[in-house]
Amino acid sequence: MSIRRYALAALASAVFAGSAIAKDYELLNVSYDPTRELYQQYNAEFIKHWQQAHPDDKVKIQQSHGGSGKQGRAVIDGLRADVVALALAGDIDEIAKLGKTLPDNWQTRLPDASTPYTSTIVFLVRKGNPKGIKDWGDLVKQDVSVITPNPKTSGGARWNFLAAWAYGLKAGGSEAKAQAYVKSLYQHVPVLDTGARGSTITFVNNGQGDVLLAWENEAFLALKEDGGTDKFEIIVPSLSILAEPPVAVVDKNAEKKGNEQIAEAYLKHLYSPAGQKIAAENFYRPRDTKVAAEYAKQFPKLDLVTIDKDFGGWKTAQPKFFNDGGVFDQIYTAH
């Protein structure tokens, strides 16, 4: 095992060099798909920051990406993640519940419900917006087809679903109306991919659908790709959801590797101006008001509902909407 090797190396260097101060760290950050570019940039920044205070330390940070649920399961099953940065709090709750590697109150340990950056759900449409889509109501017009992944397998798709629900609730005024709206919305969905990346491929590469419901940061990335601005444009609906992808130290794993301190510093530095800027550059909405003001042009203002205030948190929303027999199942099986 490389961990043991590193521990031995650290021990050996401590003994032979006679300095107990310099340390070798190897940190594993297990995250979901669209944060790849963000953490590549942030890791370099954090290593620089750490070495300013600890010039003799060697720091190596590894990142792992995949669907949020799958990554959560890997950590439960024994992947030695020091920190996790997943698409929704529900997945980290499950690690706390089933893996017992971090306390249940993990979300209270860092500011802003342990979420250093946020995003929202927007529409990506084809250039020129040929179907004239401006808001959620337009998605259920005849001959409009919508691409979104399956909320049962994709964290991002759960945010999509809840944003649609929030619109349905506001426009209709009752839960029954909201359910009728999401039902008709999903009747306009021809393909349910298993993850956000799969849906992006279906929409961008395979040319399916008129609208892609996407993370704001993913939509910006699609535009940034070669010729993206010639093919697509972003439509910001009147109302959406504040998507909060949280971060947490996995205590038991970090303790085993002697990484508690550096793992905590790694997440705390995300809240610093430097960390916040990197988040903003990668199209995540920063929490820091100063940095947010700097990038205000990039992120249009819109009404945002939140998972905690409007849906009672994931502990309520997950069973109500997405577990077996929940609202999502009902709109497909009830006739």
Partner: protein, 272 residues
Amino acid sequence: MSRRTSPVIPGFGLTLGYTLVYLSLIVLIPLGAMFVHAAQLTWEQFWAIVSAPRVLAALQLSFSTAFYAAIINGIIGTLLAWVLVRYTFPGRKIIDAMIDLPFALPTAVAGIALTALYAPAGLVGQFATELGFKIAYTPLGITLALTFVTLPFVVRTVQPVLADIPREVEEAAACLGAKPLQVFRHVLMPALLPAWLTGFALAFARGVGEYGSVIFIAGNMPMKTEILPLLIMVKLDQYDYTGATAIGVMMLVVSFILLLLINLLQRRIETP
């Protein structure tokens, strides 16, 4: 002259022991663990999970598309094997090597490539659209993906048997007055059928469990194009390990019964 034949590999005890340990580690223990996990459920709970409408729809879809794919490959695969064994032509070796490609390719790559081709806006899919039907995102697309990944089975099982039947046998039958169809029906088929059934069963079993290539082309609509392995993934993504193993156990049992039936059929053919 009765002499005790001594086997080439010595030690029945050693080899059987090795076989049992190997099978246990690789097959029985993982499958057994699944049954143990599923045993946490009461019979009613188990039944409620596996008889849910979505599970039944997926069950029917998975087994029917795998069956069609195995049948298609059973026919085309035999034809391919025939051409490769009975004729020599330039490029034969290359075609022969190509047969195994679906095994070498990561299934997800195959799935994405097939979807790009057969999607309504794709290179081939657009013609289907003009004719008024869809390939990708329908059961037809699933069958197509399964046909692709299970192609080698029938070819590779039928090919060596066919190569072992000397052409003279066919000629002798013809000399005795058999028409071509009679030669096929009474001379070739009895010899080929056991191998063909093996190939068919392998292709079918592989098709039932296939995930990677199907998931991109299926469309994954509940009740319509949702395959059984996807439902297992869905359960896992809800951290519902027990529910996932329940469906897994059901798949395993149904597959086992079907494979057992095929095996029995095979023995009846081999020992008339």
